[in-house]
């Protein structure tokens, strides 16, 4: 263990937060001059330096073309994003956010930050996780673990409960609706033996609060179009202003029944000011299908689980978007019980990540100090969000590791063969997902088994083992059953960068504004 600190980072679609454990208590680091605990995940490429966070968010309206928001939605993509005349990979932009967060944390703690536990949506697939890990590496962090957000929320919640002396086992359900992603997770928490076990997870990687905002934007754009005949979607600057107002109206409606939505001079050439009343009822109508869409993953999850919604002891809400009242009532209806807001939905994830960082930390002294009893061990077990498998030569997928397996795990499967005689290498195309054909799933990469002795085609004499390590890394081993020869291989994909590539990606980035 080095000198540096390991912090927990909630890298969100719209907002991020960072926390660390000091003297047995996890604590969210307040940042910036205003002492806010959340940092907008906005990156603004200025003329000579990059701004991140609130500063960037403030400048975003003036320079929509130089600003990147919601980069988390692009994670796992191989296509660079073009911004301010340059092209950057999503992980490079994410790394700028991380770098900023770490700078803020270092300023606040007064110590170097070396490593981090970064949270990801539980339903993130392998390419998205890999990209997130790369982002951390580009930012110069030692990424100790990628922690699913609902698990992090559970850790924070569990610790909080335990301090209150509630020593019982609970079946908890986490409904985590963030800015850009939705996760549903069923967790078993046993306070007596400090165990948090994830049982099942489901979700939607493209459903979040910003979809709700978009509905309000659409509504505003429509009525502006009706009033003036001008389509402002072609004007990025005005659209950014409309979006800003839509977002703030959405937030206001969490507390108010009705709010005035107005954007002055949104069509400057006609001196037109948009102003209208938006009621909560109307807002809920506009977004009803989005709210309903969150129950699909829930249904899917309980279909797989041995439990029914009625068995759930506690429903936890996490993520900023659960502040919307109709979401709260939807969840309460689904589970037929009041959903809990005991933990701060915006901070819980970062706090949980900080706790996990302490658990992983070899010294572990603080992990024990966090707990009231004499027990010193605490464990958090996560699951594989989607099945992993190989593509067979007819294009179908053969799953090797099934959905919801607890990690670390490994599965070995035999009976694979080659296609051609004299074949001395085999390419294993690795896919993730529940689709029937390989192409219906997400391609993770390929692993090549080299230097295997030739065999008659079609002879089922090869075995493949998939291993998911504690860090969530996938390792592939091939074995020739005839000779017992084992071939270790790594999964190659465009998203897995070598240390050199990480350095190169870092060098390409402009410097952060240090002021």
């Amino acid at each position: 263990m080095g000198e540096g600190y390991t912090v927990g980072i909630d890298l969100g679609t719209t907002r991020s937060a960072v926390a660390y454990v000091a003297g047995g208590d996890p604590e969210v680091i307040s940042t910036g001059n205003s002492g806010e605990s959340v940092i907008p995940s906005v990156v603004q490429f200025g003329e000579d330096a990059v701004n991140v966070g609130q500063t960037a968010a403030n400048m975003a309206i003036q320079h929509p073309d130089r600003t990147v928001t919601e980069v988390k939605r692009e994670m796992g993509g191989e296509e660079p994003l073009s911004v301010a005349g340059e092209e950057y990979l999503p992980e490079q932009i994410s790394s700028l956010i991380l770098e900023h967060i770490v700078d803020e944390a270092e300023a606040s703690i007064g110590r170097d930050v070396e490593g981090a536990v970064i949270t990801v949506p539980a339903y993130f697939d392998d390419p998205k996780r890999t990209a997130t890990e790369s982002a951390g590496e580009i930012a110069g962090l030692d990424v100790k673990r990628l922690l699913p957000e609902p698990s992090a929320a559970c850790l924070a919640y569990g610790l909080h409960e335990q301090k209150l002396g509630n020593a019982e086992a609970e079946l908890a359900f986490v409904y985590d609706l963030g800015g850009g992603t939705f996760d549903a997770t069923l967790v078993e928490i046993d306070y007596e033996i400090n165990s948090v076990e994830t049982l099942h997870t489901a979700g939607d990687n493209a459903l979040g609060g910003s979809n709700w905002t978009q509905r309000v934007v659409d509504w505003m754009v429509d009525s502006i179009g009706t009033d003036t005949g001008v389509d402002i979607t072609n004007d990025p600057e005005q659209l950014a202003r409309v979006r800003e107002e839509a977002k703030s109206a959405k937030h206001r409606l969490s507390d108010l029944q009705s709010t005035e939505v107005s954007v002055p001079f949104v069509v400057p050439e006609e001196s037109y000011t948009f102003s209208d009343e938006l009621t909560r009822e109307r807002f809920e109508e506009l977004t009803a299908d989005l709210a309903d869409a969150t129950t699909d993953p829930l249904d899917d999850l309980f279909e797989r689980a041995d439990y029914a919604p009625a068995d759930v002891d506690k429903v936890l809400l996490a993520g900023g978007s659960v502040r919307m009242p109709h979401i709260q009532s939807l969840v309460s209806d689904y589970f037929d019980q009041e959903a809990s807001m005991e933990i701060n939905p915006e901070e819980a994830v970062a706090l949980g990540a900080a706790i996990q960082a302490e658990i992983i930390d070899e010294s572990g002294a603080d992990a024990a100090a966090m707990l009231p009893g004499e027990t010193d061990d605490i464990v958090l077990i996560d699951v594989v969000p989607k099945s992993l498998g190989v593509r067979l030569s007819d294009g179908s997928i053969d799953h090797i590791i099934e959905q919801d397996e607890q990690i670390p795990t490994s599965t070995r499967k035999e009976g694979y063969g080659t296609v051609e005689p004299e074949q001395t290498s085999v390419q294993i195309h690795v896919y993730q997902g529940e689709g029937d054909t390989a192409e219906a799933n997400t391609k993770i990469g390929r692993a090549v088994l080299r230097n295997i002795p030739p065999r008659p085609p079609g002879e089922p004499s090869l075995a493949v083992e998939f291993r998911i390590t504690t860090d969530g890394q996938l390792e592939v081993t091939g074995e020739d059953l005839e000779t017992g020869k084992q071939v270790e291989t790594t999964v190659e994909s465009a998203l897995r960068h070598s240390p050199d590539e990480i350095d190169e990606l870092d060098e390409q980035l402009p410097a952060l504004d240090e002021s």
């Binding site: 165990s195 795990t409 079609g458 089922p460």
Partner: protein
């Protein structure tokens, strides 16, 4: 209730892995399972990571089975019937097969229990596919290997056809007419296929030299029913170029060859020729259990790597310069690529621009200090460093021309230009190959 984990992760019996009694109640097993997972979880263990992970996996298997009432009952049936060691193994096999039947029925089925129980490696042969369920019921009476393969064949004909030798997968015996598609020499350069298929009586045909033989393999891989014209081209041409020609011939067979030869050069998914030596579609025959693969071809001879590298060059060179490189040069290049030095060449230049500048400054110093001939000779090896040569000599030539006289540089601008030309030429040679530093990974 004890709150210490007392099990043995390496034990065969699931009960021992969790450290509970066979008669333990559900609650006790629940707690034991959680305790066990907590105790062996790699986060809580200073022991070797891989070991801890394996132990955790074994404990989770046990926990998953025993905490579920139905699975536990099934597991009990298995170990009562077969004992903890075999019982556990069979239970896992049954579970991996998506539990086709109740355990008692499944156990009652005849299967080669000897192989299943004695060696680990053959124990789970029937695991080949998860979709095996339906088929395995119908062919359950055959030996397990056959079952696995028969499952995979998508046509009923394959399963119904008489099996020439019981242990071989259930494809049908090739007919004489089909095999004519092969010429003897090719047949013989390939690995021996199962007894039933090798025809000792096939004529030897035109035996080819080692290198040509490999090239033939490369060119005709996948082109099972390649017509004779095609093959003649392969045999007569220079090895490297022949392969290249092959790849550009727009026939199915050539396309298949290009596919296979271009393993690393092309990222496109394989579209293999539908025809095979058996006049059967191998995709159809093996689809269920054969890994989708782009084979890398070649024998285990020492030229193997060089051959392959060369082929790669030529494939890539189809759009570059390397295709025009005469064969002897290409061969020399291949040898360089294959040598240990080849690997070094690709990483020889520093990534950082600062380091490059420092290196250049040092080299200019050498040019100033050493005599013209000595200086040039000292720098000559750098010509072959594709990441260094092209930019270094060009810069030096420009610098010498610009700073003519101050200071007196030992090597004249024309000397640097000659070196730059060499380096450029070398770069064109390696372009598209593994040595190409600018090729995308």
């Amino acid at each position: 209730m004890s709150d210490e984990y007392s099990g043995t992760p390496s034990a065969d019996s699931y009960y021992e892995r969790l450290g509970v009694d066979r008669a333990a109640g559900d609650d006790e097993i629940d707690t034991a399972s959680k305790l066990a997972k907590r105790a062996v979880h790699p986060d809580n263990n200073s022991s070797e990571q891989a070991t801890a992970e394996r132990e955790f996996d074994r404990v989770t298997d046990a926990g998953d089975a025993l905490t579920d009432g139905e699975s536990r009952a099934a597991y009990d049936t298995f170990i009562e019937d077969q004992g903890p060691e075999t019982g556990t193994e069979l239970y896992e096999q049954w579970d991996a097969d998506s539990r086709p039947q109740p355990p008692t029925e499944w156990l009652a089925q005849p299967r080669s229990t000897e192989t299943t129980t004695t060696t680990d490696s053959t124990a789970t042969t029937t695991d080949s596919t998860t979709t095996a369920t339906a088929d395995s019921t119908t062919t359950a009476t055959t030996d397990s290997t056959t079952t696995a393969t028969a499952d995979s064949a998508t046509t009923e004909a394959d399963t119904a056809a008489p099996d020439p030798d019981g242990d071989q997968p259930g494809w049908t015996q090739p007919e004489e007419g089909d095999r004519r598609g092969w010429s003897g020499d090719e047949w013989n350069t390939r690995a021996r296929t199962p007894e039933g298929q090798t025809d000792a009586g096939e004529p030897e045909g035109t035996a080819t030299g080692g290198e040509d033989g490999t090239a033939t393999d490369a060119a005709t891989m996948g082109s099972e029913t390649a017509d004779n014209d095609q093959r003649t081209t392969v045999h007569t041409g220079e090895t490297a170029t022949a392969t290249d020609e092959e790849t550009t011939v727009p026939t199915d067979d050539a396309a298949a060859a290009a596919q296979a030869a271009g393993d690393t050069a092309s990222e496109t998914p394989p579209k293999r020729s539908a025809r095979s030596v058996l006049n059967r579609d191998p995709e159809e025959m093996y689809s269920e259990f054969v890994l989708d693969s782009d084979p890398e071809w070649g024998t285990d001879s020492t030229d193997d790597t060089a051959e392959r590298a060369k082929r790669r060059d030529s494939v890539a060179g189809g759009r570059g310069v390397a295709a025009a490189v005469p064969a002897p040069l290409a061969r020399l290049l291949a040898v360089i690529v294959a040598s240990p030095l080849g690997g070094m060449l690709t990483v020889a230049a520093p990534q950082s621009r600062l380091l490059r500048a420092v290196a250049a400054a040092v080299l200019v110093g050498v040019g100033v200090a050493a005599g013209p001939v000595a200086g040039a000779v000292a720098l000559l090896p750098l010509v072959v460093f594709p990441r260094v040569g092209p930019w270094l000599f060009g810069t030096l030539a420009a610098a010498t021309a610009a700073l003519s006289g101050v200071p007196e540089l030992a090597v004249p601008a024309s000397g640097w230009l000659a070196l730059a030309a060499c380096a450029g030429g070398y770069y064109l040679l390696v372009r598209g190959s593994r040595l190409d530093p600018y090729a995308s990974a």
